[in-house]
Symmetry: C2
Subunit: 108 residues, 2 copies
């Protein structure tokens, strides 16, 4: 056990507490809507700007946008050692706001 | 003809120019999401805060929020004499972003 990397999830709202207005606010920004497009495939992504097509942004800026998405309930962030891995909360959002992600992703 | 009240439409983006990020930004606010709920029935509404369930807001604040919605392409505003009447661009938004308004209104 002692050799396993430290792993945790960053704080996120329970699905029942995800608010529509916060989700829309989170996605009503060009960078964060770009991130939704990246995450739409359901895979997990590191926070490296280059991996996200956001080379023009500083890492701290990308982290700021990711925090807004996580706190709004759009994404989950898993911490493994020094790495952070983000993915879309697809099932949670589909359950809470049926059809919303489908419509958004189709419109991207 | 001369006795007819002056009527015009305030400027709004053409349906082909409505951007998803601006629509989401427009709706990612508690007051504007409240307005969407009012407009969801497809009827036109005056800008009087009382008619919109927004008595706690100053008229200029309500006008500010309405301008953001109109410029984002969410609503149309018709000016008749001294009155302004706002309605949701339901058909335009359904054509541009299929399923989005349905999902949003169902989640309100």
């Amino acid at each position: 056990m002692g050799d396993e990397p430290f792993e945790e999830w960053l704080p996120q709202p329970d699905v029942s507490e995800v608010e529509l207005v916060k989700v829309l606010h989170a996605l009503g920004d060009p960078v964060r809507l770009r991130l939704l497009k990246v995450y739409a495939d359901g895979e997990q992504y590191s926070c490296a700007p280059g991996a996200l097509g956001l080379d023009h942004l500083h890492k701290s800026t990308v982290s700021h946008h990711m925090r807004i998405m996580r706190e709004a309930g759009v994404t989950s962030t898993r911490v493994v050692g020094r790495g952070r891995y983000v993915r879309l909360r697809r099932d949670d959002l589909d359950a809470r706001f049926p059809g919303l992600l489908d419509a958004l992703i189709a419109a991207l």
